[in-house]
Symmetry: C2
Subunit: 824 residues, 2 copies
Amino acid sequence: MAKCNKQLQQPDTIKMKDDTVQLSDATHLSFPPESWGLTEQSLADVNNQLNETLFALGNGYIGLRACAEEGEQRANVPSLNGSYLNGFYESEAIQYPENAYGLARTNQFMLNVPNAKCIELHIEDEVFDLQRGSLDQYQRHLDFKTGLLTRTLQWTSPKGRSIRLHSQRLVSFDNKHLFAISYEVTPLNFSGRISLTSSIDSAVKNIEAGDDPRVGSAISGPVLHKLEVMQDGDFTATLHRTHNSGLCLATAQQNCLHTTASYTSTLQQSGEKIGQRFDVDAVQGQVICLEKFCSYYSSRDFPAASLLTTSKQALVMAQVQGFTQLAKAQRAYLDDFWAQADVRVSGDAALQQGIHFNMFHLLQSVGRDGKTNIAAKGLTGEGYEGHYFWDTEIYIFPFFLYNKPEIAKKLLEYRYQYLPQARERARQLSHASGALYPWRTIDGEECSAYFPAGTAQYHINADIAYSIKLYMEATGDTDFLLKQGAEIVLETARLWMGLGHFTRMRGQQQEVFCINEVTGPDEYTAQVNNNYYTNAMAQMHLRFAVDIVTQLQTQHAEDYHQLAKKISLDNAELDAWQRAAALMFLPYDAERGIHEQDDSFLNKKPWDFAATPKDNYPLLLHYHPLVIYRHQVCKQADVLLALLLLSDQFALDDKRRDFDFYEAVTTHDSSLSTCIFSIIAAEVGYHDKAYDYFMQTARLDLDNTHGNTHYGVHTAAMGGTWLGIAYGFGGMRIRHVHTEGGSGEQTRAQLSFAPVLPRQWQDYQFRVHFQGQLLELEVNQSHATYRLLRGNGVKLNHGGQVLELTTEQPVWMLSMPAQEPNHA
Amino acid sequence: MAKCNKQLQQPDTIKMKDDTVQLSDATHLSFPPESWGLTEQSLADVNNQLNETLFALGNGYIGLRACAEEGEQRANVPSLNGSYLNGFYESEAIQYPENAYGLARTNQFMLNVPNAKCIELHIEDEVFDLQRGSLDQYQRHLDFKTGLLTRTLQWTSPKGRSIRLHSQRLVSFDNKHLFAISYEVTPLNFSGRISLTSSIDSAVKNIEAGDDPRVGSAISGPVLHKLEVMQDGDFTATLHRTHNSGLCLATAQQNCLHTTASYTSTLQQSGEKIGQRFDVDAVQGQVICLEKFCSYYSSRDFPAASLLTTSKQALVMAQVQGFTQLAKAQRAYLDDFWAQADVRVSGDAALQQGIHFNMFHLLQSVGRDGKTNIAAKGLTGEGYEGHYFWDTEIYIFPFFLYNKPEIAKKLLEYRYQYLPQARERARQLSHASGALYPWRTIDGEECSAYFPAGTAQYHINADIAYSIKLYMEATGDTDFLLKQGAEIVLETARLWMGLGHFTRMRGQQQEVFCINEVTGPDEYTAQVNNNYYTNAMAQMHLRFAVDIVTQLQTQHAEDYHQLAKKISLDNAELDAWQRAAALMFLPYDAERGIHEQDDSFLNKKPWDFAATPKDNYPLLLHYHPLVIYRHQVCKQADVLLALLLLSDQFALDDKRRDFDFYEAVTTHDSSLSTCIFSIIAAEVGYHDKAYDYFMQTARLDLDNTHGNTHYGVHTAAMGGTWLGIAYGFGGMRIRHVHTEGGSGEQTRAQLSFAPVLPRQWQDYQFRVHFQGQLLELEVNQSHATYRLLRGNGVKLNHGGQVLELTTEQPVWMLSMPAQEPNHA
């Protein structure tokens, strides 16, 4: 057994904000407003499963819900002891009660993998069990700066033995396969036997799946089949293979006990639990510390045959580092992150907490290996089955692009990785060429089992193209464009020609390009014709594709030649793209001066909001889809999202009229909605509305306003929070400015800002990576201050005024314009 | 044991058209063209399951596929030994991979009930088995005049024993619970032991269901649970209860052996088979005849506790009658039917056979107890799970209305029976009042698990109202209107107000009534706005509802008062109905002069028919619904159906232009299509097209042109065949003629005809019940002859000319107009 040489420390005094905390019966927990963390001051009860989500740890690969090492022992307390790995999934055949050609055939779901966190604690003949004895002190804390989840408690057993327990947990940002636990027990009023059993529990299942008959029927028997078990001293590992997807997974642990007392160690196996027990002759007042290092290695990253030995090597290395060293590295990673990305708001501590919380969870959730992405619920729960959606490109990608661009690039690489599957899907939908990305997926196959609000949302193609355009503007990474980006954009652009066609609308003479039978972002209408968002984004997409070809032809002729040959692209296609973009039908109601969500939206029956009881929201849980689809009612931003993404195509008055119209018919039943409304409200001068919608976004999970955070956080709303600050109050957009270059007139992407300050705040500040620079904008009532934090300098636009940050003049402090009257 | 006193007869000589018939390897069986029957001249092989459908017997309650009494013994020969009872179903929860509010929750499917036909035959130590020995002669015959299914064969066993087998089967039209078999065996070249085992086999299952995972997963264990078995001499019965729907069923048999030889009888039970064995000391050349009387009684008709005793009483009665008497009654029933309904076509024997075949199967399939209806596949197979659709009202109802009006009334009573469920369904779809009939159902609940081509087909309400309107015009049955019809029409009319609304279309000033988010008859477009058929039929429906109210208010004020009170109807609703009908939006393309199938149909992308391989039809098996929905392509008649049903609202030129346009974009992938195209073609003067489309309809099942008749016949196309004759070539329509009555101007329904004769025929004739009269129209090249067969006289219209058939002048012979040139 390896000798562990950690310096033992006496336990810290627990700093409790309320020393009299007891088991809480409160049905709603709130957290003290603190900038850099989240503290639970009493043991959660009805909110237990919710808090397991909120306090979850992750590193973009591993996600661990914040369940105690001992598991949830209390009966009738909701809990989901989930451990997840980004991209590690089981698949299952989708069964339709009425089948049709081309429907998605196989679902994939993020698997609840073996639980390696387990530590059971016995004191003499008594088990440590919060259902019994008395909990004298309790605190759980998630720290956004250190990345540690800490639990500190004091407990007295039924027979009167008191202990202090202090556990810390981290999921390593440096090694995606690794997490570690420091588990300290101190006998306070006795000396005697303390036993710690550290194990891996493979008796896990997906709670969602268990409740879902389609999974139950599709999977015959357990998902994980045990292939091998390895026990060697302090090292224990299991090797499993999934039943249908055939993926292999090694789950491993390495224990290291620190104690001055004598102890024995025994290997344990009981049912699906396997591990190691330490029996310690504990001495009153002396800390016993079990450091536990755990890893997950799967065949998605390494050959199956090597997984166990790779695990062992990694855990030996981790043990050599020790928990303290790993915690230092974790802190360093986060220091760097916050130095680049921190957003500060003064005047609202709860909001500041929400903003940091959201950014921290985004960082914890995002895949960054080019093979994985960011799920709708991150790695914190099983809602939406761990699927990736357009949420990534439109709501989350900008956060990474402007704060950690290397991760943003990995998200695009993920899409390139699955371009072959997107091509195959286009073939299934009878397109002779081109590619169609899946609406929801893990490993690239369409997993949407309800195509009207799934495959019909063809705008996913344009959303991905848009994110590549944004990436190119913000980074100028031509290498990516040549190797991956151009191929994605051109292949996906082709689909618009397969979908749309040139025709004349009723009573019109001029030919237009129409795209029929699509579903736009708003899922309360489905299978419509000429969805504004889809058509406008398709126009952008086609033009961007033509621009790329032009750029490559002139500047990278040989690369272009190779690519065009690879995908059999000819010039006739380009002509068609240009013509389709030029003639794209963009429905506009001249009388009302608003953009129509689709051909028929304005002719739909108005929803009777006055007669709709509050309890009937979200509508989708109370009305048949046909009822919802028939009415003029929106779940979320649709036209408004186009106003944001294609901002410079619209006049401010148009935006205001659109806002007024669509606000009146939108329920915001989707968590993707309020952030966009906030941004447009800020732009058109509806400052109070901007603030209100922003606040609904920023603490959506912390306040569980959608009532389903126990199934996982809402990563899109978390991304939307950052968008609300930067795009909304900061008014940040990319403008294209004309420049005279050697080869004639060119356009160049330039950041512009039009900051406003909500009257509820003293000031706010955020940072932006752009074209290799790191900038900061700080806004208070009197001034907007721009700072160049890294880089050689950049020109930018402040409310129409061009200014240049340079190494010589790295700071510009500009007066804020008098705030326009609030129109709302 | 009861003594049976049937007169034994020596076996008939088998009349074979080809004495050298052997086991056939032919992959396609055709049948000799005969007017009144269907003959299989060699044992079917690959077509076995198809022929089990075609030769099936039924009486509107019991349906027996034409499987041999011994069952299908041959391995690798497709067979479905199905016995069905109209309205006797099992239910199962519908599992959706993505659920939504208000979706149909429970499916019902027509159950394969215990097989009571079983007779096993042993000759000494050899089993009668067509896989072994030699089949020396074989013939199976279905007789449309006697209603008998007859099988005659001569077989020599491996050990050289030859027998003749002659079985006859009937399913009683007089007693819906009863069927009977006469099974005659004659030893030809030996005397010895012949054993006949007559039994009920409960080891049955639904083949479709077994292949369908949703049924497998929804049903835990067997569907039929045995409650009781009764054996008493020649009587055997079983009592079962279904697992989910909780229906009870008694299946019973009564055997009666006729032989001059000595024999013994033993009761038998083996697995799920229970019955009686007769061991006969047979004498060469002497016929042994087993008469077997069988019954099905279910708790849908009688108290569960009485089912066994009721069965016994019925079978004792049947035995007293004997097979011969039952066969006479069957013949008498059919004689009466054909006397009322016969359709004759001279010049095409195969077509004449198809017409009789279709009419015969309609009569066999239709429920006539007011609790059951007619399934899409009748009682001949499990396709569409035994569900009733709009097919009844639009395709099949007129056949019964004009040929057996008492059955037509029962079909309407069925709808009234399930009006409470239709009200409940409307509530589920958030309509505060009114009723919505299910798209597919057995006992009144919506069973459509794909709502875009299910619940969205709201036109079902108007279809039912239309059939009531037709019924009233053809029968004047005010009693039905007062008791049931008015309530159905008014409650269903209400739904249009819940669905539609008044609005202005883009660029238009005038307000119109729009109905959005519906699916019309054509299932290759779904969830469209202002489907022409739906809107036009809704207009008819609303006007009919107002007419009914007006009529009842003036003529039956007290009845109306009661009804209005019962359904809380007030005059404001009537005003709204009138306004909606008046402003109904009926899309019309003035430039092309055609009616638009819906708001967007003409703007859809044209389907590339030239590039579509033949094997890619039907499209629904080769293209994703989104691909089909996006294109300008029709599965079936949609606008054209409106042209037929609302015939007098359209000018002939409009009809011709519509035909030209929609013909070019219609695949006829639905079996509901060609009959309508035939009728409109006949009307607009496209005689060859009318003939071709009619021929595709009339022998659809006999020639298995849709390739799926092994799952059951296509009852709608069978009804469509009659429509093709009467509405198509006969040009029969109901016109409203103005009359001066005591209470001012009134309109009166009058039959009009505009007969044409396909050049392929010498003549044709059909009969029509109308307002208590029975008429006949005979058409040949020179003359159209109208005959009053029963009744006091009636006025009718022949090509614009009014003539009156009276008891004094019961025959009018009129010259046929010179046939217009064929435009097609």
